[in-house]
Symmetry: C2
Amino acid sequence: MDKREFMQAHLPAVGSVRGSREHFAPSNIALCKYWGKRDAQLNLPVNASLSVSLGHLGTRTRVEPLDAPQDSVYLNGRLQGADSRFAQRVSAFIDLFRMGQPEQMFRVDTDNNIPTAAGLASSASGFAALTRAMDEAYGLGMSDTELSVIARLGSGSACRSLFEGFVEWQMGVREDGLDSHAIPVDKPWPGLCVGLVKVDEREKRVDSRAGMQRTKETAHLYQSWPLQAGADLAKLHNALDERDFGLLGAVAEQNALSMHATMIASWPPLLYWQPDTVAAMHRVWALREEGLALYFTMDAGPNLKLLFESASQAAVEAAFPGLEVIKPFGD
Amino acid sequence: MDKREFMQAHLPAVGSVRGSREHFAPSNIALCKYWGKRDAQLNLPVNASLSVSLGHLGTRTRVEPLDAPQDSVYLNGRLQGADSRFAQRVSAFIDLFRMGQPEQMFRVDTDNNIPTAAGLASSASGFAALTRAMDEAYGLGMSDTELSVIARLGSGSACRSLFEGFVEWQMGVREDGLDSHAIPVDKPWPGLCVGLVKVDEREKRVDSRAGMQRTKETAHLYQSWPLQAGADLAKLHNALDERDFGLLGAVAEQNALSMHATMIASWPPLLYWQPDTVAAMHRVWALREEGLALYFTMDAGPNLKLLFESASQAAVEAAFPGLEVIKPFGD
């Protein structure tokens, strides 16, 4: 089954477009990572994942019906060429909504307020916001769960950006992916901090889609990844229930390092780390040995995302000058 | 079964000591790594491994019967304190030979000609040389296979340093480890080069014995390590049969990175890499993209061991100034 077949089977009847709509969706950082697809067409994951949404940091997307031969896609105010990867992904996603009226074009304005080059993916918040905007533009009135399923078709982790706070992406078991969507985990954690350590601002040479594919195909160690992720997810729920920061941090850090381990064990080797990445890791570990409750997570890139609580903020900022600190739940 | 029980069951009857003896054993570098023990008492491995011995680089050990209340252990000409870790490991190993005559002491002179701080373990060559010297000191006349079994009791990888050239350590299946020993693989490879990149000369904070134990206990990904190692060993034999350097290098590099991946996925994380380690890796990969047949392997430390052939030596030395180059089989 491909995306179009899925939408034909499950999208409510699409009438005529209602007008322009605008929506915001938050970026999210996974504490238990999405790494590996059991179905690359539908972005169905090998393992369940758990993230925290980043409050006001994310993507605001506006869609406006357009009488023109093609979509106009703007990113942060700049028109993107129709053959750019960005515009093509956006238009291909909109295709899923306008299937009955293929001539209906849109102007899409995507504005990210994510700190530049901090290693926060904007595709998750972008496809989540676009999904909400398209749902309203056509007046479909889908539920959050249905929207999460559809956002997943644009970018796997986008299904988590439909919700605030902690979010679990349940992997599901169905072939059509109807049960593979995110749900909110209502366990707010005031004072939780995420610190963005910027190591390298250049674009990645291997994107995460290609990275997880290579890992799955060439790293024997990947076979044990679902085991690691499953155990980590259960422990993270314990950490949230008990408000046990040491457990939360340790599980998130081991999970991220295990994901990177599967990349390092692939062929050709996939190492997103730069020398400064390793220097930052050693600094975190040295601070932790001195008693600071500081952990990190990382995505498919060279940048660290520090995890700590408000009480440690001054000490962490002293050790990482210029750190950008995000508080997903406020202070 | 512990080491003493094994020796009581299998050591030939030990008579009186014959006199002083001296032996050399080469250091070795594994292309398929020994990582994880199925029996920590007897150093029985989870997987078979394959190494190349480093010719004249290694350890020369002399044992001399001593009329004294305790052993005198010298390392590179310097007397080691009786309570030093080095002297204690040497004396504990000699205990296995003098079981019937516990009062027989020795002076032991251990001289390593291994380039200082290049990340070459001296315990493998050290215990191999000591095993040969003790065998002769007591006139036991054991076979190379028997000596390999006993050297393994001192340090796992020492069983490989009994032989020159390529060497396979067959993991064996017996509980007493009688079938877990090295055998020579008679496939010489003139022109094969090993280049030592020195990243950090400080002593490791976690030795490989502790490292493999932590990995085995805490890294879910370790469960797939035997699979990786088994596949790699088979491919290495193909590479030796076909004299296929690209295959040899790729398998050795992925094997080493997979071993490090299991450490990175353990808890607390075990990362031997320094910023300069990662810089050197990226340099290798950049050179390879430019067409240079250059690969690396690494042991439980921050230093890279480059693998290349004589034809590439000038280009490799230009990229890694000050490189120490070893030719296990000559030119």
